[in-house]
């Protein structure tokens, strides 16, 4: 059975179903011989089988159904009328088809089923030479596979009888009923707990177990392995590779990962698009690959796994990678972003610009990927099913597109929280972590930036939003404890202050009416275990509402910085040249922006060089002089690295920005030079690691008026040493 192709499997299941229908139709036809409807139905069935068998190269099957179809066409069009003889012949044809299908199922081929007799009988009727048939009954030719009839029957059961088609709507109804049952069960279990009767309690517990199992079972009926989608991709990749002149091997990891059928459908097109993109744009030609020291054959890896109640699907290629600078240039070129906006973005964020509408990275639009379906459509499709998409890329090493898709649309894992006595559900997708502060810590840890509450989460300021304020209700938490749900939406991170955390549970999402949706606060409702309705918070909308645009931008910057810190052991380093072949690494987390300024804009305040920048005066530090090197840059503009803490900034002048590295940098503190923390080996070159604090102080002695602001970073650097 295993070697039977999946398409053949589907064909068999479908055909067996069709044949059963055919039998019924033929019998009905005997009773009303003139029925056009029945004849049309039979004709269509045979026509379908004929078409598919031709496609699958089952020649005998095709020839039988072909003549059968001709006969049926005449009957349908009224050119011939039904006689007992034609019925017999048609039944004989159906039986032959059945035999052929059985043979295909058992052996994978048509076997030695003889079809000539039936074909002849039908042909003779068609020709009008009604040769009386020696066996007018529906007795078919002795089947070739009859030698092992038992096996044949078992095999058929495997494919056709072990699976049925069920209307998804019916499954939805079942799902809803099961949800009802679970609620009723909860009530019974609670009431049983209050009663004395031991029997009742036992029954309630049994009911509890059965309902849970039933719920899982019904949910499983909607799940299908992602292989259903993937199985079509090797062909796509092969053909596309041939068209583009690329050698591609396709690896698939996690084929058995399951997700909701309806989601599977919605993921199909975006996934195919990503795969096409990867082959067309991601992978280089064999020559380029060899030139870059890579094997000529590119590897495209599809990976699927479950993570945190979501299905993650990755499309990875080991191609050329995406150059953030090219993306940035393109974004400016197309007027999608300004240079100033881009300067604030981390390179990974720049990559996400490819999902903007109107963006297409292919220098030349090819007929493979450039068919008007851009990455923005992929993103829209994925987001419409509650998923997210992100892209990661290392130049020269490849690109990974990562889709995060909910397991099912109907049921999402959520955190239930309480605010002002009401319960709300927050989808786990947006939840990063929970922070609980007792009254003492809350008093100091929740700080104020000119009226806006913030909490210092591992050194980064997290804007706080009080759910009670957003909803305009009165919080009933008066003991000073603060509970923060750290949420992420649209790339921004914020803390939602709630009264109480209740539990995490899988909730069944019920849609809300348009009027409630329009409030922009709730994405749906759900029914909790006790039968009460709880609203599901729309975290995206909350973020938009509560955080001003500017706060969002700042948020994005701090999120980027935070992720770098959270990634742990290694720091991201900006590598800059300062002349004399010397390279200096500056921890990227301390860099706010990279700018180019005109040398003529430098002014002097006392003996210090300053520059006007965004309405503020920025002290200038020439890193070459600070570290005893000599700049080799000529020209009338300067490359500056703007470093900010709070409202204070300094501009560090370097010769050139060489690279941003994400590798683990092993810092040696053997260099005891002024202004350096040590040296590190980055990409096979010795790079000096800047002591940022000393450098900043050299430019602006009063920079650290709030000394602890820097302490975190400094400690981190010291640890790295």
């Amino acid at each position: 059975m295993d070697e039977i192709d999946e398409i053949v499997q589907e064909f068999l299941v479908e055909s067996h179903e069709n044949l059963d229908q055919l039998d019924r139709d033929l019998v009905a036809l005997e009773r009303e011989p003139g029925s056009r409807d029945l004849l049309g139905s039979i004709f269509r069935t045979i026509h379908t089988i004929k078409g598919t068998s031709g496609f699958l190269a089952f020649g005998n099957l095709e020839s039988v159904t072909h003549v059968g179809e001709n006969l049926l066409a005449r009957l349908r069009d009224g050119k011939m009328s039904m006689t007992p003889q034609t019925t017999d012949v048609l039944l004989a044809m159906v039986d032959t088809v059945r035999e052929l299908l059985a043979a295909i199922e058992a052996q994978g081929t048509e076997g030695s089923v003889d079809v000539t007799a039936v074909v002849q009988r039908i042909s003779s009727i068609l020709d009008g030479t009604t040769t009386p048939d020696p066996e007018p009954s529906a007795e078919p030719e002795p089947p070739a596979v009859a030698a092992e009839p038992g096996e044949e029957i078992v095999a058929r059961r495997n494919v056709a009888d072990s699976s049925i088609r069920v209307d998804v709507e019916l499954l939805d109804t079942l799902m809803r009923l099961v949800g009802e049952l679970v609620l009723t069960r909860n009530q019974i279990v609670r009431q049983a707990g209050e009663q004395e009767g031991l029997e009742l309690v036992r029954s309630a517990q049994r009911l509890n177990l059965i309902a849970t199992e039933l719920q899982e079972g019904v949910m499983r009926t909607r799940m299908q392995p992602i292989d259903h989608l993937w199985s079509k991709l090797p062909r796509v990749v092969r053909d596309l590779g041939a068209t583009c002149g690329k050698q591609v091997s396709l690896a698939m990891v996690g084929r058995e990962t399951e997700l909701d059928r309806s989601l599977l459908e919605s993921v199909k097109d975006p996934l195919t698009h990503l795969v096409r993109n990867a082959v067309d744009h991601g992978l280089e030609s064999p020559q380029d690959r060899v030139a870059a020291g890579k094997p000529a054959e590119g590897v495209l890896t599809l990976r699927a796994y479950h993570e945190g109640g979501q299905v993650v699907v990755e499309v990875c290629d080991d191609g050329a990678g995406i150059d953030p600078d090219r993306i940035a240039a393109k974004a400016i070129d197309k007027g999608l972003r300004t240079a100033a906006q881009l300067a604030q973005l981390a390179p990974t964020d720049v990559l996400q610009l490819i999902f903007l509408p109107g963006f297409s990275t292919a220098a030349a639009v090819t007929n493979v990927s450039g068919r008007g379906v851009g990455m923005d459509v992929v993103k829209t499709n994925i987001e419409s099913i509650g998923g997210t998409i992100e892209v990661e890329s290392v130049i020269g090493r490849g690109t990974t597109c990562r889709l995060r898709i909910p397991l099912t649309l109907a049921i999402v894992p959520a955190l239930t929280v309480e605010c002002a006595g009401d319960r709300y559900a927050i989808p786990q997708v947006s939840l990063l972590e929970l922070v609980a502060l007792d009254a003492d810590r809350a008093a100091t840890a929740v700080e104020d930036v000119n009226g806006a509450s913030v909490y210092r989460l591992r050194g980064a300021l997290l804007p706080l939003v009080r759910l009670a304020d957003v909803l305009g209700v009165e919080s009933d938490r008066s003991d000073g404890h603060v509970l923060i749900a750290v949420l992420q939406a649209e790339g921004k991170r914020f803390g939602l202050v709630i009264d109480r955390v209740l539990s995490t549970e899988e909730i069944v999402v019920k849609p809300l009416g348009a009027r409630l949706k329009a409030l922009g606060t709730y994405s749906g409702a759900t029914i909790l275990g006790d039968g009460r309705v709880a609203l599901i918070l729309d975290v995206q909308a909350l973020a938009r509402r509560a955080l001003t645009a500017e706060a969002l931008e700042r948020g994005a910057a701090s999120v980027a910085a935070e992720t770098q810190r959270a990634t742990g052991e290694h720091l991201r380093m900006l590598v800059a040249g300062i002349g004399g072949g010397r390279r200096v690494a500056i921890p990227l987390s301390s860099v706010a922006r990279l700018e180019s300024i005109a040398a003529s804009s430098i002014e002097l305040v006392g003996s210090r060089e300053v520059v006007q920048y965004r309405g503020a005066i920025l002290p200038l530090l020439r890193l070459d002089r600070h570290l005893g090197a000599t700049s080799e840059r000529d020209g009338d503009d300067l490359v500056v690295v703007v470093y900010s803490v709070g409202s204070r900034s300094v501009a560090i002048v370097v010769d050139e920005i060489i690279d941003i590295v994400d590798e683990e940098a092993d810092v040696h503190s053997d260099v005891d030079d002024h202004g350096l923390l040590g040296s590190a080996l980055i990409r096979d070159r010795i790079v000096e690691v800047l002591d940022v604090r000393a450098a900043i102080l050299a430019a602006d002695p009063k920079f650290y008026t709030a000394p602890e602001a820097e302490a975190g970073l400094h400690d981190q650097l010291q640890e790295a040493v």
């Binding site: 009802e180 609620l183 209700v473 409630l516 409030l519 759900t526 009460r532 309705v533 709880a534 609203l535």
Partner: protein, 139 residues
């Protein structure tokens, strides 16, 4: 037009909606309030696994709020196919009314009531105020 109306009371007045619009009548169910929602939306209820909006007709008709200890009844109606629960004081009965008993609302009627009242049926002892269901729910 003769019609059959399901009647209920609100602040002492008798109101009616067409019987065809009514799906069922329920005693009060627990409601979940909806912060930020317009005043007429009195919350969400769980009707056998379906989440329904509950519309407080007193608020919709500019009538004084119900006493805190007075538990409202629910009239579940279908508006454009969607069930919505109306909060009312008490349920009356089903009455047959005749077109010749009907009069449009008096010209002195203004405000919300004018929008949502179709008119009044003159019953023997009192007036039955006919509600425009769609407007009562949407307003």
């Amino acid at each position: 037009m003769s019609a059959r109306m399901v009647t209920f009371t609100l602040a002492g007045h008798l109101y009616g909606v067409d019987v065809h619009a009514v799906q069922e009548v329920l005693r009060g169910l627990p409601r979940t309030r909806i912060p930020l929602a317009p005043g007429g939306l009195a919350g969400l209820i769980n009707l056998r696994g379906q989440v329904l909006s509950a519309v407080d007709l007193r608020a919709q008709l500019d009538l004084p709020s119900r006493d805190a200890d007075q538990e409202p009844m629910l009239v579940v109606i279908r508006v454009v196919g969607e069930p919505v629960a109306l909060l009312v004081d008490t349920i009356g009965s089903v009455v047959d009314v005749d077109a010749d008993q009907f009069e449009p609302p008096p010209d002195t009627l203004s405000g919300m009531s004018r929008k949502v009242l179709l008119g009044a049926y003159k019953l023997e002892h009192r007036l039955l105020l006919a509600l425009d269901v769609e407007r009562a729910v949407a307003a």
